[in-house]
Symmetry: C3
């Protein structure tokens, strides 16, 4: 029973996601469909890529991920399927699939151009339904992925923003903000440890300072702190409060997070 996992920016109020699921179940009634998220901000490829990356490895081997955050639908950007070490990723060639796919190990990329596996009446505005869901359904039924199109050697790889170390300062970024207002950074616990070498640090975000690292939420008082988040990256958190509101962060990647180590 193949799992098909869906990630889109379609929201849950319209029937777009249901149309995708209907297409899948019509082709493969035994498909096990799981929603990753449909609450990605419209057209936010990076948020979509983060959510796919943060969750894919928990899914059973063979899971087919359909990731549709697609500002260029109908344009000349390609539709692709990526075969990785353990999974398949289906969606537009705009990067939304590639942080996760790269992490798992990309083995082959196919441009989806075999219309036999598309929905018969297909639109220029809803490839999520007409191409990606349809192709994923056929794949989940056992169609060999090589038959879905032609091998492609070129694809768009996006990456999380890099952090920069300049003498005693590390400049990092917020790459995602979750429902609780936790601020996910682009550095992990090992990065911080290597940088500070066990000494104290002073972190600044939007003019507000903090200097603590906590192992668990419950240790903490009213000050913000770094904690190892469930994705592996460090997060800036406040105990049972929103760090997003505390720091006044509006969007990921908008501000620099500066960490100064003690000499």
């Amino acid at each position: 029973m193949a799992v098909v996992a869906l990630l889109t920016d379609f929201g849950l109020n319209d029937s777009f996601v249901a149309q995708m699921k209907a297409v899948i179940l019509k082709v493969n009634p035994a498909a096990q469909i799981v929603d990753i998220s449909h609450g990605v901000d419209s057209f936010d490829i990076y948020a979509g890529a983060f959510l796919l990356w943060s969750s894919f490895a928990y899914f059973p081997k063979g899971t087919i991920f359909v990731g549709v955050v697609d500002p260029g639908v109908g344009s000349t950007r390609k539709n692709i399927i990526i075969k990785t070490k353990n999974y398949f990723f289906v969606g537009p060639d705009n990067g939304v699939l590639t942080i996760a796919a790269w992490r798992d190990g990309i083995e082959k990329i196919i441009e989806l151009n075999n219309e036999k596996y598309f929905l018969k009446q297909n639109s220029s505005t809803f490839h999520g339904r007409d191409i990606f869901a349809s192709v994923a359904a056929h794949l989940s039924r056992g169609v060999n992925f090589l038959r879905l199109g032609t091998v492609s050697k070129k694809f768009k790889q996006i990456v999380f923003p890099a952090f920069v170390v300049d003498h005693d300062i590390l400049k990092a970024k917020i790459i995602y903000i979750d429902k609780f207002g936790n601020l996910v950074t682009n550095i992990d616990h090992g990065d911080l440890k290597r940088f500070t070498a066990g000494k104290n640090f002073q972190a600044v975000l939007r003019g507000k300072r903090f200097n603590r690292y906590q192992d668990i939420y419950a240790d903490s008082g009213k000050e913000p702190f770094f904690i190892k988040g469930s994705s592996g990256f460090l997060e800036i958190s406040l105990k049972n409060k929103s760090a997003k509101d505390y720091f006044g962060v509006k969007y990921p990647q908008a501000d620099f997070l500066t960490i100064r180590r003690s000499k």
Copy 2:
């Protein structure tokens, strides 16, 4: 494995939808339940009808649709099941089911009055759980729909609003607004083509003008345009922006969309 597809205005924060699913799975553990939407504005029968209409045809033959947007719950309005050419539609007799059902071809309507297939302890406020989910579950297990009640010859049919052509002006309406702010109209591409006969047009919505038809989103610049939407109707869109915000449209059906053809 029968698909039961749910459409309600219950939202996802309360446990109403889960109670419906629980009732279905208790009767038929093998039911495949799919959410169409639970984000319909409270009591908005037309929005519910649109969402059901826009998605039903993608579902496998035999799918049982449960549509509950039900301002009159507990009143004298009937509870019905509609057998159409390919599907079943279960819900209140207030029109929410009928745009979709009519399109598929209504074959028979049964008033749900066989309490044997209701939940034993049933409330006056939650027919979605106590009647519609329960009936759908029994139907999905193979109960003949004729046993669910008595044949009814009278039912409430709602329709999308009509458009009007008056000399060189076509007056249309917005019938749905999606998550991206696309404005779904009540005319399709063929309507526009027949009306303009290939000539130019000037469209006006809330005082703002536009005159373009686009085949795909990606063609377009900063101007609004008509595009063939995924439901078949023309939509008014802006490339990666919200046409809803651009035009200041608040609700479907509130404003006239006026299209004037060149002579």
Copy 3:
């Protein structure tokens, strides 16, 4: 086919819920996963407990409920599984599980400390994925619940707030507010009947009065009224309007609802 029902305050925009589902399906591909709600206000244990309580009894016998509203994640609060007469409840020992579990009849409580059934790499911030989903999955595959840890005799029981009768006045509370703005109280129809002994009453909430009990929504005019809600408790409602907005209630339990009976 075991049902695993999930209740959290994680929201649906992030990938937290999907990570839990992925963990479950990796262990037990045949698990039937149902969402109760993920829209509980962050850390609101009472709202979570209400939603679990209002829905559990509709689920098939043997359903495994995973309830994660967990402000103390990573602290010394225990992780538990409660075996009740008909179900299993998995989550933190902070009360979120216990209104429902108590109602069904608690038979045994196990502290989850057998790490064999946890996710291998587990975090201090996401027990929902690393412990609760994993344990629920193993249980759904047939692992005996006694093997999940050690018997615990102590647990946190929370209860709905009590109402108070003082001569001719009954003081009640709002314990939940649903999507339609219905105000769920902590008294049921029998309570009101016994209190008023069939006579008239005057109810006051935030300075606004009403004196009606209705059997169904559709009977009613523009005045607020009590109605027997689908959970069994009385609710304060307005026909097709929000009682929450009418009375200006912001949060459950913030205000007293005062009912005075006629002598």
